[in-house]
Point group: C2
Chain length 391, copies 2
């Protein structure tokens, strides 16, 4: 059964709808069950999943490590763990949702798949479509960089560069999908949420934290992670919920703006201006549900600036992980919330590092030392010049 997260209207599970007539997202009912031991994430938490991914499609999503951030834990005065989603098959958390969403498409005999994406999701959907033998249609922003386009183009398929409001494109794609029989695996698809919730199960397996920090754009990841924890609580796997922290980029933060002014409705954000392109949806389709979930679980909602996320990106690199700016917002938020004492000293915090920094190589976020020389002068460079800088 699919149920509207807002008005509660129900649709049969066979429906390919993603949103209700009222335009809010549809979501599956809560699963409850037991965790199996051993095997992949898809096997261990099988009882909580709406479908079982086939070997034909799965290329080992999830089962990502929780990396202890020793330096940052000390600096911030918390126990910080980085949930490293950059080691997924296409190097972002999207693969978990794409797998279930595409499995669903295959199970119901879909012939044509599309997605709306600025980056990570376009890559992920293209990869899994290609593996499934389908050619996707990827709707991208008209000024997508070549760097990002190439990551999608390697898988073939069709790219349509669309100018206009990126938020509207979500709804437009669903209309076209309905008319033309194209299954759009967009950010808020119910099966995506089911895929994303596996992150929570893995987090709990390692150690249940006090806070979970979630970079938030359309709201799919946030909703998925919350649904996972709620299902575990319902199933008696855990007896308390971690506090969810929703983080947006200052230059495009429609959810946080509504949260701060105690609004229940999201207003469109005009003129987004942030380097965190992966979380820059100006009119997030799941935004109001995120607000409700924040309310239900006494969550925190905060923004970080470009400078703060670049600084956080370098801090995350000091733990060995190269994250996207959009993925670094979580750590930037932890730093801010500790300063404001909204997170208490010694708390256990998991920040989800959503995607690889390789996908977003410019601008270069560092000031490293750089020298040039001929090989015949290399010895001299080490011996004489700027000695203490090189050694």
């Amino acid at each position: 059964m699919l149920r509207c997260v807002s008005c509660g209207k129900e649709y049969p599970s066979e429906s390919v709808r993603h949103i209700c007539e009222c335009k809010e997202p549809l979501e599956m009912g809560l699963f409850s069950g037991k965790v199996r031991s051993g095997g992949s994430v898809w096997r261990r938490f099988r009882g909580f999943l709406p479908c079982q991914p086939s070997k034909k499609l799965s290329i080992f999503e999830g089962d990502t490590p929780g990396v202890k951030a020793k330096k940052l834990s000390k600096e911030f005065g918390v126990e910080l763990v980085l949930k490293n989603e950059t080691v997924n098959p296409t190097w972002s958390f999207k693969d978990r949702g794409t797998l279930l969403s595409l499995q669903r498409a295959m199970d119901i005999g879909v012939k044509k798949v599309g997605t709306v994406s600025t980056g990570n999701m376009g890559v992920s959907v293209s990869a899994y479509c290609k593996r499934a033998g389908l050619d996707p249609v990827v709707l991208v922003d008209h000024d997508i960089s070549n760097e990002k386009l190439n990551q999608i183009a390697i898988y073939g398929g069709t790219v349509i560069k669309v100018s206009g409001d990126y938020g509207d494109l979500y709804y437009e794609s669903l209309k076209i999908g309905k008319n033309k029989n194209i299954y759009f695996s967009n950010s808020n698809s119910p099966y995506r949420i089911e895929g994303y919730k596996t992150i929570s199960f893995e987090i709990e397996e390692r150690s249940l934290p006090d806070y979970v920090v979630i970079p938030t754009s359309s709201g799919g990841l946030f909703r998925g992670v919350l649904k996972g924890f709620v299902e575990m609580e319902k199933s008696g796997i855990l007896d308390r919920m971690p506090v969810p922290i929703c983080v947006q980029a200052e230059g495009c933060s429609p959810i946080c703006r509504a949260f701060d002014s105690h609004e229940k409705k999201i207003k469109r954000w005009h003129d987004p201006d942030t380097i965190a392109s992966a979380i820059a949806n100006p009119y997030p389709p799941g935004g109001e549900e995120v607000l409700r979930k924040l309310d239900d679980h006494n969550g925190i909602c905060t923004t970080v600036s470009n400078d703060e996320m670049i600084s956080a990106q370098l801090k995350i690199a000091s733990e060995g992980i190269f994250s996207q700016p959009a993925s670094a917002v979580g750590v930037a938020a932890v730093e801010k919330l500790r300063e404001k004492e909204e997170i208490e000293e010694g708390a256990e915090v998991v920040s989800i590092i959503t995607g690889s920094g390789l996908k977003h190589l410019f601008p270069r976020p560092t000031e490293h030392l750089e020298f040039s020389c001929d090989i015949s002068d290399l010895k001299d460079l080490f011996e004489k010049s700027r000695k203490d800088e090189i050694e």
Copy 2:
């Protein structure tokens, strides 16, 4: 004990030497032992490792999946598995070797670390150095692209762009390292080989193949993989060796040239010309040992052209994995060797996909369909124009 792979001269295990007086690589003796069950690759194969990686350094290297390539298996008439090393922490196999090499450096109290790298290794060493609290010196080719430089720069440290022969730079760095007390974690360091061999243990765990295909540049990965299989044979874990296949880029293939002309010595390759920059060492320091190992194990040595590797890159993408051109050479080689019937029909083949395609985004290796339109015209685009191409 460290032993020269060529003249057999022995050095104490405490030595930080990488190469013998005769300039050939030093290697550790063969380990034998038992495999433990459960836990990470570093735990399961602990008995075969020269040191145990600490939690302070390790960020979950290895334990990479073997992805069944169903389409390519059918196309080539073999059972092809892609060993997906692109999901390592810095998205290449180098992390396995860097971990052990840097663990060794930390265990003996090294204060300064360097490396010589065109890409993957520079990134990997920089990441682990930063995690260990050390600032590395990375010697790179003078014309390194900004795209590659940024991946190293994120971790800070010092970059020296060197003009001159890249093959010579390896030896020059070891001299400087000795004089200035800098531990160079270069391609052939004995601890790297020990890290790389864990790939073989994981391959065997899944299913012992008939052939293992190894993209080869300096020879470190090839030697590591072979050492792993030899140790397993010695320990009674397996009773036959897979046939090793060494693959080089046609435009820089000093090992294959020597192999084809039955030479025992490697001659420097002049004017390397290949898009596979990650495997373009014109004077590989472990090349002669690769030749000996090929001889010992009835191995195969072959080259592939730029066009063949781009074609293979697209074929690998059809299985869902975006590989570097240098990582695609293995699959290109399988296709060629099947055509020449040097690999028999139905053989089980594992090709090691060494690193992520995100590290090498140009040129765009595809011909996908691309359209542009305004959001208001999107529906029309799907309805009318070039209908059968989009749908």
